[in-house]
Every structure is written in structure tokens, then in C-alpha cells.
Symmetry: C2
Subunit: 296 residues, 2 copies
């Protein structure tokens, strides 16, 4: 058996087709959507994500603005910036870099953002609305993982699936999307304190891995034939690679080849779909602001 | 092997000891806590819960007020009532009957309540704060299920547990409490669309059943030796009982006797502990209002 490669590109393209249709759903005079991304301006995974955000936004005609925190700005100033953007009628959607190191308080800062503009779906209110089956925005990465599973027709409804990771920004909202009526998966949530991962994964048709631990998934714990959506993203040293490092997921792809039923590549799997879903959330936020409803 | 009976009474008493200590933690001049319960004044399970709320509040010196919706009051008036109570400085804690039949919109009405006063922990913001590991109040029934498991020393950390039910007011918040750092259970959430319940429960040390389906749990699907916290509560006809009916849980207790390791009785299990936890949440809400912090 060959392991199917679940490429993100066709999924991202299908979402972009929907996003473009939604962009055309408004009167021609409507101002274009505007997304603001707040960050510290330092190197790291968010910087990479930011570059992709700008590229995707510009290709779709979405205005993209960066708000870079100055050196002297601390937690209070961050709270103020997010509040100001939340009240700014020229901005539809706001992203805030996370995780943020202390003394910044990500949850406190993002709590000042209107859930309509919280296109990353990461504030407590956004998470609660998702849990209450009244989502405004679900986190783009969680939507992306689900979109890939659906695009490739992986078994979810009435099947057992596993989510590895219990973070409030990825694992928990993804579990909620999978549990929602209409998706109807039976969901096991495992995490760093799970004693026997192989036992927790037994019987799972699809494994959504959001652990950020390279090499976590191998033949030793993945049930034969299971599909893996690899949401984990880590950087490992590789002297032969440009920059001396490369991005890897949680799955040991070489070990799982011929064992797993299907696997998303890293890079090229969840990443590009996440950016597309973020644009989708941004356009929905803009429709809510401009039309009072979501169309398309 | 005999199935251990996990009585709620000693758990409720232990919580009441803590609640009384918390009540003594404030200056003597502080006004007593005040809890308001909003309901339609019709017969049903909430009426029974209400009676217990009043008894528990009065025995602890907590003021208890009922707000009964008049016949002509609809969804808009309910939203207004909850908002008024949220702003009322003489009220610390507000409960709203649920589920509510259409055209009432429970989620909309409860969303107008400050999360500090939402002692049933059922608004989207309360649920999201719980998911973000910043809980103000978790639903009393979910706290009660966890309190019983802890009181009797059931294995949770690093063990597999199952939650049956995915409602935003019971199953989902309970799963979040079990996943929280420090509790550290590996959690499987099953529900009405789960295809093979026995498979989903395999390997679970503790089963938290919140399905409200009498007879759901039997030897055919419960792993031998597993403990069951029976959160389900249904009324079945029984001509020999006063009123022609009696309360039952999800577990078929007769079938599971000698098979399950432990089981909470219904009534007398989760019910009394839920009322005690509600009083605990009320006292914490009052401390937040009067002292700006939780003590004791």
C-alpha cells in the first residue's frame, strides 16, 4: 500500500475560488476588505506566516496592514492597539501574533477585539461561540485541517478521530469543529500527558496532530491505514538546507510511508490552506461589517 | 467484585464546608451573597433544581430571588431581564432556566450576562474562558462530576476517560475541565452519532455520561471495572412511584452491578453535588464583586 499524499494546494485553490466569489457578492462601490496584523516585528514562525498573509491578501485585493509594536511598547500598549483596531471602522479583520512571550498577555489583549473582527478565532468569546455551535470565526488552522479532511473525503461522521494537542488556539477549537453537528466525529483528545499514545490512537480513522513535536507519529503508535493531517510545525536543524534549518511536522513521513493511509506533507499541507482560510474569514468579517450578513 | 456506590452526599458536604469558610472570609459588615434564578415558572426538571437551589442558598445564608417570566413575556423581554440583573449591583449571581423552548433564545439571552455573574458557566464567553484555561465559572454540573471523581480518587491524570454528550452546557465544558493542565485526562467525546459506543469506551477508566438516555450504559458497552459518573437525568414512568414517575440516569445499574467498578446513584449522585457547586460559584462571584478576588 502506498501512502496517499494529501497536498494542500488544491484545497487552498478551492477555498480561493469561494473567496473570490464572496468578494464579488457585494455592490461594486463597496470598499475592499482590510486586514490588520499586529506583531512584534521579530524573526520567527509568525514572520513567515505574515509574508504569506500579505501575498494572499494582495492577490485577492484585500488591503493588508502591519502594525508593528515599537521597542518600548508593553502589554498595556498592546491592549490599547487591539482596542483601537477593534473600533476602527476601516479595518474588518485583526490578527495578533501568538504565542507572545511574557510580560505580554495574549488572551487579555485579544479579549478586547470584537469577535466579528477576530478572524483567527482565538479570543475566549470566539472559542465559546464555537463551542456553543454559534461560530463567528473558527481558527484558520483548525478550519484548514477540517477542509483538507473533507476535500479528500476522509471518514469523519460516525467515525473515531484523534486530535493531538489541547491548546485553546488549535487543538480545542479543532476538536469542537470535528464534534459539531453535521461533522459528527467521535473525538479523542490526547496531549503531552497522555500515557500510552498508541492506545489513545487505536481505532482512529483520522489523526489530527497539533503537537509540534517532530517524529511523534510513527508506525509504533499510528494504526495501520489511518490518515494523518499534520498540523504540527517545527523547525529542525539541517545544514544542507538554506538557512540551516527546515520545517517538519509531527509525523515521521519516512517511517509511515506504506503504513499510514494518507498524510499531509510539511511544508505544502496545512500551511497554504490555513492562509486561504484566513482570507475566507477576513472576507466573511468584511461582509458582516458592510452587508450585515455573510454571503456566498 | 461489588460495584462501589459513589454517593454524592459526602462530596456535597465537603464542598459546603469550603463554601462556609469562604463566606467567613469577608469583613463581617459585607452584605450577604445574592443569587437570582430566572425561569418560566412551569413544571419540569428546572422546577425541581430550583427548589434545591433555594434550600441550599437559605441554609448557607445566601439570598435567593426568583424572577418568573410573565405569560406575555417573550425573547426580547428575557434579554432585557438578564441585562438588568447583570447590571444590578445587589445581585452577584444569575441563573437562567435551560433548555428553553422556541422562540426563546437561551444563548442570546445569557450572552448579555457578565461572566462574573454567570454562575452556571453557560454563556459563550464563560465557555471560551474555560477553554482558554482562564475560567471564571465552569458549569456547576461539570464541576460536580469532576468533584465526585476526585473525591473518590478515580484515575484521571494520564488515563483515558470518556464523556458521553457534546452539549455546550454539560459535555463540552466537562471535557475541558478534564483536559485542563493539572487534571490531564486523555478525553474521548462520544455522542448520539457515535457508531460503535463500546469501541469508543474501550480503555476508559472513567465514563462521564451526560446523554440523558436511560439504559444507555450496560455490560455490552462499559469496559469491565470502569467507574461511571452518571450525569444523565431522565424521568421514566413508574406507576408505583409518587407522581407516577421516577428519576433515572444513563446507566442500567442493575445490569452493571458486579461489572462496573463504581457508579454514582441516581438520584443521590451528581444532583446534590451540582447544587453545592452552584453555591460555591455564587460565593466566588460575590467575593469577586465585594472583594475583587476569590478567597478561601
Amino acid at each position: 500500500m502506498q501512502t496517499q499524499r494529501l497536498e494542500g494546494k488544491p484545497v487552498a485553490e478551492a477555498i480561493e475560488v469561494e473567496v473570490r466569489a464572496a468578494l464579488r457578492s457585494v455592490p461594486a462601490s463597496t470598499r475592499p476588505p482590510a486586514l490588520a496584523s499586529v506583531h512584534r516585528g521579530v524573526d520567527g514562525p509568525f514572520r513567515f506566516y505574515l509574508k504569506r498573509q500579505r501575498q494572499a491578501a494582495e492577490s485577492l485585493g484585500i488591503r493588508f496592514r502591519e502594525e508593528v509594536l515599537a521597542a518600548g511598547e508593553g502589554p498595556e500598549e498592546l491592549v490599547g492597539r487591539v482596542r483601537t483596531l477593534s473600533d476602527d471602522r476601516a479595518i474588518d479583520a485583526v490578527l495578533l501574533e501568538h504565542p507572545l512571550p511574557a510580560p505580554f498577555d495574549f488572551i487579555r489583549a485579544i479579549s478586547g477585539l470584537s469577535p466579528v473582527k477576530d478572524v483567527d478565532g482565538v479570543s475566549p468569546l470566539s472559542l465559546g461561540l464555537l463551542g456553543a455551535q454559534r461560530p463567528l470565526h473558527a481558527p484558520a488552522v483548525a478550519r484548514a485541517a477540517l477542509a483538507i479532511a473533507r476535500h479528500y473525503g476522509l471518514p469523519l461522521a460516525r467515525h473515531r478521530v484523534a486530535v493531538l494537542g489541547r491548546s485553546e488556539t488549535v487543538g480545542v477549537p479543532l476538536a469542537m469543529l470535528l464534534l459539531a453537528r453535521g461533522v459528527d466525529a467521535t473525538v479523542t483528545i490526547a496531549h503531552s500527558q497522555t500515557a500510552a499514545l498508541a492506545d489513545a490512537l487505536k481505532g482512529a480513522s483520522v489523526i489530527f496532530s497539533c503537537a509540534g513535536r517532530p517524529g511523534l507519529l510513527t508506525r509504533a503508535n499510528v494504526p495501520q491505514g489511518a490518515a494523518i493531517i499534520d498540523v504540527g510545525l517545527s523547525r529542525v536543524e539541517d545544514r544542507s538546507a538554506p538557512g540551516g534549518g527546515r520545517a517538519v511536522g509531527d509525523a515521521d513521513a519516512a517511517d509511515l510511508e506504506g503504513w499510514a493511509g494518507a498524510l499531509t506533507p510539511v511544508p505544502g499541507g496545512v500551511g497554504p490552506v490555513t492562509v486561504a482560510e484566513l482570507m475566507g474569514n477576513t472576507v466573511r468579517a468584511w461582509q458582516l461589517a458592510e452587508l450585515g450578513e455573510v454571503r456566498g
